[in-house]
Symmetry: D2
Subunit: 355 residues, 4 copies
């Protein structure tokens, strides 16, 4: 049994972490922390979770400082905005805790310049970034198992890396793909925009609307480039365009890979399905099926389908995740399971609903 | 560990039964049956459930007759259209099995006339109806525990009965309500219309549209009247209007109860919360909160909020359920748990997501 | 040709007034005013209206004071929040202008107490309220024709009054209805909540969710009571419950009228269809059809269907409008047409789309 | 004044043609024809159009043969499935009528092989295809003005051609783009799938879901290739992937054009805005804005925004249309206006709503 805390439990990622952790069979105690809602009952903040104190008082949120000072807490998840985790992680690590950050703070490793370019601020504690592991579970499992500080990947970067990993890790060497001119056209549900109400997330303007945004400027672009380059072992040429789609959850990334030589759907499918044969959370769909967010909703699955474009010069890879689960809280719990030596699927086995 | 079969696994209720049962910790073996899809792999019929055969072949659907002939299956859930279960239940009961029907076949007890009026057909096996228990878990728990044949309530009747039960079981005797002139204005998501594609369920016509339907003629009206009368111990005067709302899951029933004397929100709230104090799946919200389907989605909860109308002459009760879970498959599994003597919440503890 | 100004052109009602007025064949010049966006180009504020200055500069918004000081403007529409119009109307009236207010400021006539109870503030210029006409076009046409100051009805009150008017104006005298115990269960799209982004209007929480709100406390309740009492010539007992539905536009009000004597659907239908026989914007549907917001979207129609509940003791009236058109900007333009002596349907003839 | 008929008035394109034509100021008489609904009242088929016979009987649908035999009808729109128009057009042309087909029958000119490859059938009347003009208004205006037989473009091909036209007509010659490796990632609302209810269009499965489909096999791909090649004067290398988005109307195409040399957003914007400077229905958005279907809904506009990808090697063009208007019925009416010598914007001036 483990004891965990969620720092930033009132945001969307925090709510999702709370929901998943409360269903984790190994959870001993869960402490929820929030600056803005300290002292409030959980059911008042998240009515979906009302009544968990049945037969006793409702759990109440505490101040993050209170949680950090609690020596019994072994695992800290931070879903605070970027810039906070870097400040909080040090003391947790110093006393042997595990710190998993869902913001961008620890996603760029020692490349402070890249982080600065994307987020407009530098590192305060450079030594922390030397220890931080990029928490893409299906790539960095060995490092995550030994990590005490994990930078959980962004939602778009997770879908992109899982979808393209077989091509870049194996397909380059086989002369199948060029690694240049890759287009990632990604569509996200509105939960990806976070809880803050804005004109963009207003139902009346988001519903019934498909809107590309931040073309050429989204902060996940450098994270994607960095992640793909690490997989390929060389820089990868990629164009990334995010879209806001009128749906709650989910990312569907349609990715276009120029081929270096003729191939078949069968060869493509074999490459992807062999690569992920042993992964519990990646499903490579049978040829002819197409990945969508519907089939992975509320689960930790990443569904991937692989296609050949008309003309045969381009492979099309579709990767679908629930942005709040595999793209955030689910992968964070998966990483915790790995780091704590638990079965990787514990607490993450709930099946997606069909509708 | 129990062995179960789902007859009609390709419909919406069947898919939901499958999803819930696959997550039930006491499930030994699950047999999925369908006339139309026999022989198909589960992941081909329901791609959300793809890959459950990981490390082995995908489960395949069988013919209902095959399932019925399997002597190892103890529990049969039927989500076939009305008219089928009555034909299939007898042999299962004869060999000591448990039969839970999600159609209307066993909801009307011995009142064949009422069933005939609503469904246009009579009983073929009248003796079965003497044994059948109406599976409203929070009302008939004792009888369900001893039942071998359960008629699982309709979705609208579940929301109505759970919302009104305290008023009719206790409020009448206290002189609080009249039991006459009750209005049930119910809104359902489109999954309630079933899987068959029709013009009504076409996205282009269902989206962005709130549509009352079958006003004065819906088949759930007689079931509601019968269920409420049983609770009240006398006929209850009720007007029921269903609406199709542009959402996937959920029923929100807004119910108007004429009061027989002045009261307060506090008295109302106390009546409801005392009544349901020990129920694991009914949450009476604190005064000031309003029940919605959002907070119960994909869970077996029924949320209820109680209000006093301006003027004070009418109580307003809002009951919210997930129509596919508490309104169908979840309540069926709850009833199975009761009938098998398991913990009533087994397999039904997954928490609703906040969004 | 008339010259008009919209005060508060950046809100949702202002945007809709702008759209409708720009298509009005009698419009000479339109001045758009906003405190927050003065000086901005129309296409920057409302990109849907981009390019109207083709072949010339884009129209730009001005300060409300500038508009009010322009002696050539004959008609002022105010969609500013309540409390503003009362301050601005006087000078416009003084110079012979027409002032149509879409807020609540002029909806309560001389009943300052009722306004104060609902909106928490009193009248600053009581004499204005003696002149104000309640702009329910289908009821007060004669008075509107002579008015210079019009309080445009709220969206919920419009649907309620149009739906119930035949019953209260004719049915009471015929002994058909009682005028007591009327239930108005109203469902509105999210545009009704206005442009301000809030947690309630956040797509991630509004989508897929049907939520009653402000039960017993909504500010439109007293307006509805007042409007219905005026029609009936006596107080009417009514319970009003608004719901937020996951759709952009539209109000569907399902209304339950206790009957004083037995009747038939045919008698009910005849009463409603005779009453509205000459109305260009009210469509009483043929028996068996049900009114929905889908069929009136983006039009000034109010669709009404009339039904008899099972048991025959209650009539059910469904009224559907586009809350932004007939429930706000469209009715305002209709009132302007009446007050200016134009054809009442000018600028309002666009047909609803089927999907 | 012109007299027109819509053949196939009960489908989605037919409904939209009917709505638009009924608001056309030059319309004399409109005849609606349908095999399946002949004899029915318009308001029964399309309740949104109920009541147009106010003060007289409702218009009734006739058999297509009846319409074709009416010598007073000058303009025929056919929204029948492909394969029908080819059979019907000849006699209309023979007596001097104008025939505008919204199916694929006349989109491939004399290239019977391409049509056959996509639609699995050949030409019955090859001589008709010599006369047919591809009705992309903004490209073929001169030919359309003289045409009597117009093949109205598909929805995806319209968005693609309008978005890419400046690049292919001017940018190739300027050495700006290569014309190879173009990716068209297109997202369509569900109305694009037509009125036939299917599992794909079922609300419960289409809502909240973003689904690529027919990857590499969609029938619009060869039409797009043909249309772009005609613009470029040479074959163009293009990959086209359609997606079904959870919205009613609209296509948003995000298109990726490899650049042949460095450029700036300003150069790109100037190319597009100069190219379309005189077009009444194409709006090139100011730099920094992004085209979405929301801003063009229910209008004949095509909004285009042009962007430079991070890295500068790819131009990104976003084109947004209402698939039912500019992508079908609106463009058909625009073509009719051109062919009849009317003002091209007649009947098409209604402004998009902001929400």
């Amino acid at each position: 049994m483990f004891t965990a805390a969620v720092l930033g439990a009132t945001g969307y990622a925090g709510a999702e972490l709370t929901r998943i952790l409360l269903g984790h069979p190994r959870l001993g105690r869960l402490v929820l922390a929030s600056t803005s809602a300290k002292g409030e009952a959980l059911g008042a903040v998240w009515p979906n979770l009302l009544g968990l104190g049945r037969g006793g008082p409702e759990p109440r949120l505490v101040d993050p400082e209170t949680a950090l000072a609690d020596p019994a807490i072994e695992v800290f998840f931070s879903s605070l905005p970027h810039g906070h985790a870097e400040r909080l992680a040090g003391p947790v690590l110093a006393r042997g805790g595990l710190f998993i950050d869902l913001s961008a703070d620890f996603r760029f490793g020692e490349d402070e310049a890249a982080f600065h370019a994307a987020y407009g601020q530098g590192y305060q504690f450079p030594e922390l970034h030397r220890q931080a592991v990029y928490g893409l579970s299906e790539r960095n499992r060995a490092a995550i198992a030994k990590a005490r500080l994990i930078g959980n990947p962004g939602c778009y970067p997770t879908a992109a890396a899982l979808g393209l990993q077989p091509a870049l890790a194996k397909g380059l060497a086989r002369g199948l793909v060029t690694g240049r001119g890759i287009v990632i056209d990604a569509k996200s549900g509105v939960t990806g925009a976070g809880k803050e109400p804005t004109r963009t997330t207003h139902y009346a303007e988001a519903a019934d609307t498909l809107a590309p945004y931040k073309i050429g400027t989204h902060r996940h672009a450098p994270e994607i480039e960095r992640s793909l380059a690490a997989i390929a072992g060389a820089p990868v040429g990629v164009v990334f365009t995010p879209h806001l789609a009128p749906m709650g959850r989910g990312i569907v990334s349609t990715m276009y890979l120029p081929l270096a030589r003729p191939t078949t759907v069968e060869e493509l499918h074999a490459l992807w399905s062999d690569f992920y044969a042993d992964e519990p959370f990646v499903r490579v769909l049978p040829p002819g099926s197409v990945a969508t967010n519907r089939e992975v909703r509320l689960s930790n699955f990443c569904d991937i389908s692989v296609h050949l474009a008309r003309g045969g010069e381009t492979a099309i890879v579709v990767a679908a995740i629930d942005n709040m689960v595999k793209g955030a809280a689910g992968q964070a719990v998966q990483n915790m399971n790995i780091a704590l030596g638990l079965d990787e699927t514990e607490g993450l086995r709930s099946l997606p609903a069909a509708f």
